[in-house]
Symmetry: D2
């Protein structure tokens, strides 16, 4: 599936922000599409489940689900089916986001399922050990979220380089191919630049774009910063 | 919110059946709408999250989410926000379906949330004690699923009446107003008729409709059976 | 089972405090036993799973598990079996403590199981609606924890009486027999006295005893305050 | 911690079997201790939480908890604290047993916690990918449970060798040091022998011992089979 994707990439997680719900999810996705077209940098979006269909209808950039469940079609009321998000237009799915953490066996089952359904798997991992462990499951993309960069407000561009490079090294010992995104500490263009310089191949961002006064401007800044 | 609803009612849970996913969810919802228009019986549908928006766009009968999470807008990647399902066009939501059972405190939080957001709450309860307990939380609708009727293949029309009437009695001791649906043992028109005769005010059905060779015919049979 | 218990009662939850782990759990339980013997007030203790056997061996006051799982004997590695806590000497179990909240169907299954095994069920409920809902499941004891008294530091003795009396009223509408304990806002003897005066039949306490400099003195103060 | 352990080893999981609850857990542990003393083969036992203290008091062979929670001392009613199982006499703990599966981040947190508390970590993993992933977290012992050997009734001694050797290879690519146990397909001495010949360093067994008519005889058969 990754054939459809290129690096570097910017994936924007819409979370359950009202600023990216319903009609606003479509508006934001369109801005992302425009910046992507202008800058030739791949930008993907991860809207809420209920917004996947309308977003995927409105734009042609990659759309990710925020989660899918390790289920087959059938009697699973209230769960999220791989087939459904795919038919709604999703190209892939986030897995194990720090706000939706999963059992190890479910992460493995979902990655397996994405392979069978030709969906792109993007696993989130919030420390070096977990990143290495997730890499062993052979997803296509992994978003590393060093705890030093989550919540502490330290941007990648100001952090000790080892915070990123140690995680990359541990992931690469186990998996040479997985695309590695930086999933924390990204607020400014210089953070995107720093993340790529340290060896990641893109970024997973959320509030930095969704909550920005001018998401268009920030998206453009991020996209241009990938051209290092 | 119940002002918008009338009894008796038939709610069709699409679960994660492929027969009611994506385009097929819209087709089935349109059949339900047609039967509802022809028979003047209220029929609602509960499609998967990703299909809520397209279904609600296509039909004007009540649409329910299959579940929502007890969260506020914000950082809840992979969760289902009340505001989002509402903006997508849902009138209400199933809560605590036997395939998506919830903590007592979450059921209470979600019911409270549906009141604040003017969504209809439909709580599922799979035995008399749980039905009474759920009724104490004052949802607008409760779907009782007597264990004697789940999985055993015994239809309501052949079951001992006490299986239904005991549960109704326990619910009514606690809550005079809640609408009571029969959520198990419904395969034929005579089951719908039996359920209503025993004191419920409608039915919650799934495979009986979704997996039927001719859902239109069965929906019509069910709707006509409510006219007892 | 309640035949063995008397009201008013004081139940001390040892949580996972180091001050009440291992040897210290036995020491604290012995203090509780001594105060109970001196004051003729029923005092029970709820140590950690691993300490139930040694505590129950050392004292003859009622011992509660902090939780049991809704399982039968068999293949349930890492779960807590009713039979095991009973053989270890427990008289009953806490259920649905706010730090170990359960699915509605599991609360019901566990209460049913306690009846079958002759264990006392003590369900915790952290607001009036949940208290009413829990009462419908007919446990033997319910510990109400008004949100106004949790974490806010407001003691029962200073709170608006309605905070307690409204919950009691809602519980009593549904269940005349259940013993009602006050499970929050208890730091001093006057709080115990206030809780009983407002209509509860005892208290469920934790840090107020376990973390006290002199648990013996505080236990004695609480016990004497029940004689109003 | 592994200094205290030797390979090959046999670990007996008591699950929640009544045959290994309370007094019977002590009896079975004593049999294991006797066989271990007679054969000089390391045999460990994993009783239920409530039985850890009495078992550890009665025998001097290694005792494992069946699970611990990723918590610190404090307000965690109904959870299992590392410090408590250690004070009760446990040498280590099972983690992520297939009957008590955990979030990836919790497995990592618990392994980290076992290191800090000098407890032995034994992670269960029920397919090759999950085994590799778990190995990346650097536990001291891993129990591999090939799905071909679980529930299908195929014993290790009759299975295709690759079922075991492929998993070992994937684990060893990531972790040279971890002790590998075979955790499925063990019913007879020849299965133990086959498991060791294929490269594992011991076995994790349950019903094969606990439910045996003569556990002493089977334990002895298993222990002698390790001398290949």
């Amino acid at each position: 599936m990754l054939g459809k994707l290129q690096i570097p990439m910017i994936i924007v997680n819409f979370k359950t922000y009202l600023e990216a719900t319903g009609e606003k999810s479509v508006e934001l996705a369109k801005k992302a599409e425009k910046v992507s077209a202008d800058t030739k940098v791949l930008i993907g979006v991860a809207p809420q489940f209920v917004d996947i269909a309308v977003v995927a209808e409105a734009v042609s950039i990659p759309v990710f689900a925020q989660h899918i469940d390790p289920i087959q079609p059938g009697s699973h009321t209230g769960h999220v089916l791989a087939e459904s998000v795919k038919e709604a237009g999703a190209l892939g799915t986030l897995i194990n986001h720090s706000e939706r953490q999963l059992k190890l066996s479910d992460i493995n089952a979902i990655i397996k399922m994405t392979r069978e359904k030709s969906l792109v798997s993007l696993v989130c991992a919030n420390n070096p050990a977990i990143s290495a462990s997730a890499a062993a499951l052979k997803p296509e993309i992994i978003a590393i979220e060093p705890p030093e960069l989550i919540g502490t407000g330290i941007p990648v561009s100001k952090a000790k380089p080892e915070v990123i490079t140690d995680t990359i090294r541990r992931v690469r010992e186990i998996n040479k191919k997985v695309v590695i995104l930086c999933g924390a500490g990204i607020s400014h263009g210089e953070d995107v630049e720093a993340a790529l310089r340290l060896g990641t191949q893109g970024v997973l961002v959320a509030s930095g774009i969704v909550k920005a006064k001018d998401p268009d401007r920030v998206l453009r800044e991020f996209a241009e910063a990938t051209r290092i």
